[in-house]
């Protein structure tokens, strides 16, 4: 047996080009469906895990995919309508769930700003690698990737991206103080900037800080009566919340009308989830969606396409197998004299078949190893698709 192995090895070395070509062809034919399959499996698992860990989302009526993808994967969407903070209060008053505010309309250095409350960090088990949660207006806590890529840490500053660069009436970029950094979670949370929802209202321009209306420079006062003062648009609102000016930040009007993009509801039980969802969809001008259902629907479409590519992969393997078989068949014909020599020197009758079998198995084994290694390398080099969804 060892002699046949040696002969097979020497034959492969003697025809290195042919052997290498065969191995690469088989490896390539295996790599494509294998990588696609593993990627799809991982993608599916990651998407479903995040969706299944998010019991209920409540947002404005509209595209449920936008609502879900924005809330789960921080995918920016201009189309998301806002709901009021009162919606959260109403949901909270039902006593069926812990309701967590979400506001995601802004970015900072290109990273999504997720304005929420400390309950979100508790819910996602976002652990602190350094510093603290963003418990003050104007502060933020960075996801692990953001902190690493921007080389920022507690005490540093991060500017929000201005929404309208050339419109001076829009709120300026806010200089946010970094309160902390979350530990890596291998989820979209690593690529986000977290702040309190009140900070988002500053970014919206709804909450702001400025000098007292009674104490403003007279040159900025356009008109003034006993109960009214009109101030020039040249009044500069504070673009940074500091210890000195923090107390001047305020909202105008009814705070229950302040905007949110979604409410993440964590029901106390399955019964509460059902009642809350049906109640919202039946009685309120809102929509409640179960993220796992939405993702299932989305993946259903994706996997119909994947089934087609799986079929293509199977055809590719069959075609390659047929070509490899043909190559070995033709090769065995060319090696008739070699096999006759084996017979003449007294080798067993089955030796020629065993030798070819060893060569085929060896080629296949090496090809499989290469395809596995290539698949592993591909998975390692590809970005985390869910995190960068």
């Amino acid at each position: 047996m060892s002699g046949l192995l040696y002969l097979a090895w020497r034959h492969a070395r003697a025809h290195a080009g042919r052997s290498l070509l065969l191995i690469l062809c088989i490896a390539l034919a295996l790599w494509v469906p294998l990588t696609a399959g593993v990627l799809a499996k991982r993608y599916n698992r990651d998407l479903r895990t995040r969706a299944e860990s998010t019991p209920l989302l409540v947002g404005a009526p509209g595209n449920r995919y936008d609502l879900t993808l924005a809330a789960l994967y921080y995918r920016p969407s201009e189309r998301i309508e806002t709901i009021t903070y009162r919606s959260l209060e109403n949901l909270q008053d039902e006593g069926r769930a812990v309701c967590i505010p979400l506001h995601q309309r802004f970015t900072a250095r290109g990273y999504p700003v997720v304005a929420t409350s400390v309950e979100y960090a508790e819910f996602r088990d976002l652990r602190l690698a350094a510093g603290a949660d963003p418990l003050r207006i104007g502060t933020c806590t960075l996801g692990a990737d953001v902190a690493e890529e921007l080389d920022l840490g507690p005490g540093d500053y991060l500017y929000s991206d201005p929404t309208e660069l050339y419109d001076i009436a829009r709120p300026p970029a806010l200089k946010m103080r970094v309160a902390g950094v979350y530990a890596p979670t291998s989820s979209p949370d690593d690529g986000a900037v977290f702040c309190d929802v009140r900070t988002a209202w500053v970014l919206e321009g709804i909450a702001h800080g400025h000098e007292n209306a009674d104490e403003i420079d007279e040159e900025l006062v356009l008109t003034k009566t006993d109960d009214s003062v009109s101030i020039s648009g040249a009044l500069i609102e504070y673009a940074e919340v500091t210890e000195a000016n923090e107390a001047s930040f305020h909202y105008h009007g009814d705070t229950s009308l302040l905007p949110l993009t979604a409410v993440l509801a964590v029901p106390h039980s399955a019964k509460d989830a059902t009642l809350l969802k049906s109640g919202v969809n039946a009685r309120m001008p809102l929509q409640a969606v179960t993220p796992s259902s939405v993702i299932d629907d989305l993946l259903g479409v994706v996997f119909k396409v994947k089934a087609f590519f799986d079929l293509v992969g199977v055809f590719l393997i069959i075609t390659t197998a047929a070509l490899v078989a043909l190559v070995f068949l033709l090769s065995s014909r060319l090696r008739t004299a070699e096999m006759r020599t084996l017979d003449r020197i007294g080798a067993p009758k089955s030796a020629s078949r065993t030798l070819i079998g060893i060569e085929v198995l060896g080629t296949l084994a090496v090809a499989v190893l290469i395809s596995l290694a290539a698949t592993a390398a591909t998975l390692r080099l590809l970005p985390d698709l869910v995190a960068s969804f």
């Binding site: 698992r45 309701c99 652990r127 530990a183 979670t185 003062v229 648009g233 705070t255 698949t375």
Partner: protein
Amino acid sequence: MSRFRALVISSLAPVLPLLTGCGAEAPAGQARASIRDVVTVASAPAELIASLTLRPENLQRVGDEWSAKWSPTDEDLAALVTARRVVLMGAEFEPWAQRAGLPPSRTLKLSEGLSASELISTATVTHTHGKGPAHNHGGMVPTTWTDPALLRAMIHGAGELLAGAIPNADDSAAAADAAVAKRLAMEDQLTDYEAALEELKAALAGRKLFATGHGLEYVARAAEAPLHVALLEIDSNGTPNDHAAALLEAAATEPGHAGVLVWHGPIDPAFAEIASGDLGLTSVAFDLGRGGPGATVMTRLSAGVRALTSAVSGQ
């Protein structure tokens, strides 16, 4: 063969975990602080109300200021967000709460259970800037606990809202007896406060009161007396509000007032002398139960109202 086997194993070693998706790691970073079995309050009135429902060991007070300018420290914030519940008075009594990341699901505002028509709004300056609409920084008179009816409603509401807030709370008969005793004592203090307000009402007989700041509105309403608030702002930034002073002077020349100027903070001696000499107004300090004689907010409040009644009767 051993080299071949080693080659296969070494090739597969880095591949298998990736392909199977195994090898989940424990979460990195510092574990989050657990939620503590306490209810946290940040003001004496909220503490007064919450204490009627909770045992002392389940109630934590942070901060010792009544000032609207109080801001929680980082330690205060950590204590607030890790409590089972945060109890606020609401009605804009805690402006710092607008700037602090309190957890909505664990934050209770006692004023939210009150009828909006029962709350008193403040007149404020409307202004515009930028392209935004005209707006004002006014709002509610936050001293809701000085109205006996509102206080009773908030005590009742807190009882409902805080029931079950602390898991495994002591529900023994002794604890129930202690809770009933606290409620009865509170009821006695409230009855005494109502009596003090009746005395003030009789002394005022519908005459107008003057005050240097907001906060007396509920007392004045209970005493059925008009109230003129002159925001003199003597201490705020060193620039007194001359306009408010002029309005006060004009109002003081009209008949039908009680001849009393109520200060919620320290009395400014210079202005008190002017008010006394030129306007005939006696300055009286009334700090809404913050200080003065008495063991509790309510007893101090009653004492303050009686001191005000004495001042009014002396005119």
